[in-house]
């Protein structure tokens, strides 16, 4: 019907290689952006922001980051939780040391610091591959969490060992601390997510992304055709950790407000983000969004139907959540190893021909 490229003539290369080549897609993208920026902030309340929107936005950034590393560059990492912790503690130290600087800059700087740490832990990837690398990144996960637990400098010698975000404002509106309005927190995260997705999309379809994909498909062959594996792998680690660091910073400063490192950034977080990437689709930016949305919404939905609707105890719902998430992962891997993004692609292909497929 309306979903097709007929009549949509491209006359320049720029037009031809744009992200959304089909007019309908393009307009839908603008509509979603407009809706997210101009409509949602006015209608959301505290519950929706804290239960659905903030986790979704923040995990989507983390999933984009991890997708660059795992989906585009093929380096499996189980250290996401640790890198998120780096972002959180970096933003905490920056916020408390330079209170007069905008938190906006702090979050970006925290991403930068995490990128540095990511490169450091990415160095072994030049020698180790596959599973071995996945296990090696566990070293990052456990070491970093231990470090933030044990060195008092990181949590400013606070008695509880926790870090808690002081109040900071953007244009006079508080975005961290107890006084934050739901819409302010939402918009702050949304800006970062939009920027992250934009940057990630354009990096992955440019030279950098092609190098990463060459490394992913076969690193020796990539090296032979002139891709420098050192630069490609480390840049993937840096970019990925940058996004993961930003998401960690937001997770701490905006979403939770106060954090105990082992609890908030443990190994489970690493797996959660990895699952988002797998279920969403490896090597797809849209997949990162879909995966994050899926795994954020699933527990909320289960909790509401089982605990709220049927009156089951919460621990039973939690067990069921484990079972369902596990089963979903297996089913996805069997039925569609490329995740939700592939389902979406197939659906679009079908829609383009609908209702006359022949």
């Amino acid at each position: 019907m309306f979903y097709r490229e007929a009549g949509d003539f491209k006359t320049t290369y720029t037009e031809d290689s744009q992200t959304f080549p089909i007019k309908f897609d393009r307009y839908r993208y603008y509509a979603v952006l407009l809706f997210a920026f101009a409509v949602v902030p006015f209608i959301i309340n505290d519950y929706w922001v804290n239960a659905v929107f903030l986790p979704f936005l923040i995990y989507a950034i983390a999933a984009i980051g991890l997708n660059i590393l795992v989906g585009y560059c093929g380096q499996v990492s189980l250290g996401t939780g640790g890198f998120m912790a780096v972002g959180a503690y970096a933003v905490y130290k920056l916020m408390t040391t330079f209170p007069e600087v905008s938190i906006f800059l702090h979050v970006i700087l925290a991403g930068g610091i995490t990128a540095g740490v990511g490169v450091l832990f990415g160095l072994p990837s030049l020698r180790i591959k596959g599973f071995y690398l996945a296990v090696a990144t566990l070293a990052a996960q456990f070491f970093l969490v231990w470090l933030f637990n044990r060195v008092p400098w990181f949590y400013n010698y606070s008695a509880s060992g926790q870090i808690s975000a002081p109040e900071r404002t953007v244009f006079g509106v508080p975005v961290t601390g107890a006084e934050t309005a739901p819409w302010a927190a939402y918009l702050f995260c949304l800006v970062f997510l939009t920027a992250s997705a934009f940057i990630a999309r354009n990096l992955t379809r440019g030279m950098a992304g092609r190098k990463w994909m060459a490394i992913r498909d076969m690193d020796i062959a990539a090296e032979i055709i002139g891709v420098n594996p050192l630069k490609a792998k480390l840049s993937a680690f840096a970019v990925s950790s940058f996004f993961v660091g930003i998401s960690g910073a937001l997770f701490f400063a905006i979403y939770l407000g106060a954090v105990e490192v082992g609890e908030a950034f443990g190994i489970n977080k690493s797996f959660l983000v990895l699952f988002m990437v797998i279920i969403g689709g490896l090597g797809s930016i849209f997949g990162s969004f879909a995966g994050a949305a899926f795994l954020v919404l699933l527990p909320v939905l289960l909790k509401n139907t089982l605990v709220g609707g049927l009156g089951w105890p919460t621990d039973l719902a939690a067990h069921l959540e484990f079972i369902i998430v596990g089963a979903m992962i297996i089913i996805f891997l069997i039925a569609e190893p490329h995740g939700l993004a592939q389902l979406w692609r197939v659906a679009k292909e079908k829609l383009r021909l609908w209702p006359f497929p022949h």
Partner: protein
Amino acid sequence: MPEQLIFGMEVFLNGLMAGVLYALVALGFVLIFKASGIFNYAQGVMALFAALTLVGIMEGQVPFSHLINAVFGTEVHHFGWHVPALAAIFLTMVVMILMAWIVNKLIFRHLVNQEPIILFMATIGLAYFLEGFGDMMWGSDIKKLDVGLPQGINGWIDEKTFNIFDYGFFIDNLDIVATVVAALLVVALVIFAQYSKQGRAMRAVADDHQAALSVGISLSFIWVMVWSLAGFVALVAGIVWGTKSGVQFSLSLIALKALPVLMLGGFTSIPGAIVGGLIIGVGEKVFEFAIGAPYLGGATEIWFAYVLALVFLVFRPQGLFGEKIIERV
């Protein structure tokens, strides 16, 4: 002899014992990896599941009682009988074999010829599933497991070392039993793999799937067998760990500790799993004793194994006993 050195020796011995337990879990990994190329992340959860099932059967718990009570509003918890340990172990083994069959039938049959990393992810999914399933079936509270293994300080060693050093070493009886069991298990596995018909078939499958198929070996049977074997190893590990620290969620985390053990030893080598386990066990205990606790604020055991494996791999990517990795374009 200086006191520090004697303490160090005790720490070393305890490290060896802990290493044996890591090796027990790692063994299950190696078995499955060798035969089917699947890196089974769920091995630790299998140990947890086996231990949970064992306790549940011994105590005569009603499976899914929590769920049944929530849905039907009933109040059932126990059948009211107690099953003797040996019979319960046998029944648990039956459950593990059943699980092996289901896992192969429902999951890995459909994933033949997929990339290793996809298979790995599938086992993570399986781990999540089993974790939730085990908790739902038997409840998530910490359970005591007692199948009659001896526990507590070994008096004989305590006495002997006290006579020599004026300081009695603390060695747990359970650790000694675990060491003996692990040694027996390894010997049995090696004999099975080398001399029995099924063991030969298993090695053939490990070598080359297609060639094994062409001489008439049933892949699906071998895989079910290997998963059952891994289930058996998991059961043994679950019994030992469960007796030591209670059957609880953290049991599944030892799977994570087994990963660096495997990396050190090499994924394909049974002796490697043992040696790697001992190195990690001794290494982390001695490091904690000598450097971690005095200088770094303690609890270095959490990350030491991983960092050690990481540093080691940079110099020898295939591990100590692994087959040399050859890559072709």
